[in-house]
């Protein structure tokens, strides 16, 4: 595998998630975009037998790529050659039954306990609040999939101590059993948070920095958190994207660059090291 020499931050995040994809596991991809592309990339390179389901009840498709612009859900190309077609209640119910190993989603804002905000920035109901789209399927993914992989950007305003609004549940107030007390299935919850810079897990239901990309330091990462998360004793250094990964992302998956272009900033190899 040849290390790539130029790629976007969004591409980095998708490659990191793709490497987490395991064979024989089920993934609920939230909407289209980065979650779906990450899973498809993982299937193509690392775990062909990983299966995924989408919000409209498509089970284990062999999609006709590339997708049409903004046409991933209920689209005939996206559901092509599935093993079963259902509706939204299909995926809601199957996840409630415990059939979905992983949920992959991205969001606006995440906090120290993995709670997700996709509803409002600012105080809910106040005049200054900025309204967003709501949880969509993310609330059910975060509640009912066994493990949640959250993709977001490494920015202070997105990495906050406490989200302005819990749209989708993380560990809630972080106390032991808080999810169970709220009626959520036991042994579920946030598992990883992936940004273009870093990977986090949870220790005692608190976010912990686990790994970083070579071109940023732990300090730079912590700079982009509103609070200081836990840091693993050994912060692993992640492999950069490979040419192979980018080739597939750019020529088979996101051919229009809609997703990969979404984040402006790029990383390049200057001959000695990767630079932002």
């Amino acid at each position: 595998m040849i290390r790539a020499e130029a790629f976007s931050e969004r591409e980095v995040a998708m490659c990191i998630v793709a490497r987490m994809v395991e064979p024989g596991r089920t993934y609920w991809a939230a909407g289209g975009g980065t979650p779906l592309y990450s899973i498809l990339l993982g299937k193509k390179l690392y775990a062909a037998d990983a299966q995924y389901i989408t919000e409209d009840g498509v089970i284990a498709p062999e999609p006709m790529l590339p997708f049409e612009p903004m046409m991933t859900m209920v689209a005939s190309r996206a559901g092509y050659r599935a093993l079963s077609w259902g509706t939204m209640n299909t995926v809601g119910i199957h996840s409630q039954l415990g059939f979905m190993d992983y949920g992959v989603l991205n969001t606006l804002q995440v906090d120290q306990h993995g709670n997700i905000n996709s509803t409002v920035l600012g105080e809910y109901g106040s005049d200054t609040a900025r309204r967003f789209g709501g949880p969509g399927g993310a609330d059910t993914i975060a509640a009912c999939c066994w493990r949640t992989i959250l993709i977001t950007d490494q920015e202070k305003r997105k990495f906050v101590r406490q989200v302005d609004f819990i749209s989708s549940p993380g560990f809630l107030d972080g106390t032991l059993g808080a999810r169970e007390r709220a009626g959520l299935p036991s042994d579920t919850g946030p598992w990883r948070v992936v940004t273009p810079w870093a990977v986090y897990d949870y220790l005692d239901r608190k976010l912990r920095l686990l790994a970083r990309v070579p071109w940023v330091t732990v300090e730079e990462i912590l700079e982009e958190c509103e609070w200081k998360p836990l840091v693993a004793d050994e912060v692993e250094v992640l492999e950069p994207p490979t040419e192979e990964e980018l080739e597939i992302l750019r020529t088979e998956l996101d051919v229009r660059g809609q997703t990969t272009d979404a984040s402006g900033s790029w990383i390049t190899w200057d001959g000695e090291r990767y630079v932002k």
Binding site: E68, M70, M71, A75, Y80, N89, G136, D139, I166, S167
Partner: protein, 331 residues
């Protein structure tokens, strides 16, 4: 004479938002008095259907969304007829809410997911739009309970969120496990508008491919308008009864609406019109819904005239050409 209580279940938490009233017995009485169980043609124009069946102040559900098998000819007619004060289910939807809000038709929305574009932002800030918080699956679970004639749905999600606290949900102690379980109010909309691939004149409807909650919407709603890409003979329905998605007695109006999903796609029949899709995204992003309505809706008496004069055969054939998947989209 009232029944004495022999025990009780704790209520552990509850949201404090208004929710559409729950009345399963009232819904049953409506079905008895208004749903036609005879095989009578319900074929009518989109104009008549919306005039007769969509009222100001109604709770309205559309299935799928403006981009995908959306009942767009019916939504356009709702806007054309300037329906007011609607309460809509903003589940699994992108531009729809912003379009209907921007067109002045909506005063309340139950949120699953929608693009909170400029028209929505403004309406919320100006107090013209109330938003109540749910999620896509919780909204479809509410519709499913409504479609089962029950007063509530139980879900294993939603608990512990701020959405829960701004909804009609309650956390109760389940009498069988003694663990907390979330219940949400059943939803029986006043009216649903649903676009399907095929229907007969009585309302027996076929949806091919995946969907969101077309069957739930049809069974849960007091008034149901089905628009169909094509009207098929009832003989064709009887040839393959396993393919019927919605039974005739749930349906109040059938509208023949080829390309009824324009500018969106109708899987199996046609792909989307990319320019048209970009145009609606542009309209809601730049807060130009009025211009969009004045270009695509108000100049025309009906959807077919819009297709004729505003779209043209070339674009429609291109949409047909773009649908390359046929497997699974026929009976």
């Amino acid at each position: 004479m009232s029944t004495p209580s022999i025990g009780s279940l704790e209520i552990l938490a509850e949201g404090d938002s208004p929710y559409f009233p729950v009345d399963p017995d009232g819904f049953r009485a409506w079905v008895r008095d208004n749903k036609d169980r005879s095989l009578r043609s319900k074929l009518m124009s989109e104009k008549d259907a919306v005039e007769r069946l969509v009222g100001d102040g109604d709770y309205l559900t559309y299935d799928c969304n403006y981009l995908m098998r959306g009942p767009n000819s019916l939504l356009h007619e709702v806007i054309r007829q300037k329906k007011k004060d609607l309460w809509i289910a903003g589940k699994f939807t992108y531009v729809d809410v912003a379009l209907l809000v921007g067109a002045g038709c909506v005063s309340k929305v139950d949120c699953g997911f929608f693009i909170a574009a400029a028209p929505v932002q403004k309406a919320v800030r100006d107090g013209r739009l109330e938003v109540f918080e749910y999620s896509n699956v919780v909204m479809t679970a509410r519709l499913q309970a409504g479609a089962m004639g029950l007063p509530f749905a139980s879900v294993r999600s939603f608990g512990g969120t701020d959405g829960f606290m701004n909804s009609g949900a309650k956390l109760i102690r389940d009498p069988y496990t003694n663990k907390p379980i979330t219940v949400v109010p059943a939803l029986n909309p006043d009216v649903s508008v649903i676009h399907v691939n095929q229907a007969d004149i009585y309302g027996n409807a076929r949806v091919f491919g995946t969907g969101i909650a077309h069957e739930e919407c049809a069974l849960a709603s007091r008034k149901v308008i089905v628009s169909a890409e094509e009207i098929v003979d009832t003989e064709e329905i009887r040839r393959d009864p396993g393919r019927t998605s919605i039974p005739y007695y749930a349906v109040d109006a059938v509208v023949e609406s080829p390309f009824g999903g324009f500018p969106g796609a109708c899987p199996g029949d046609y792909g989307s019109d990319t320019a048209g899709v970009m145009e609606i995204f542009g309209a809601i992003s730049t807060d130009n819904v009025d211009a969009y309505v004045e270009k695509w809706i108000t100049p025309f008496d009906e959807h077919s005239e819009m297709l004729e004069k505003g779209v043209g055969i070339k674009r429609l054939l291109e949409m047909k050409r773009r649908e390359v998947v046929k497997e699974g989209y026929s009976a």
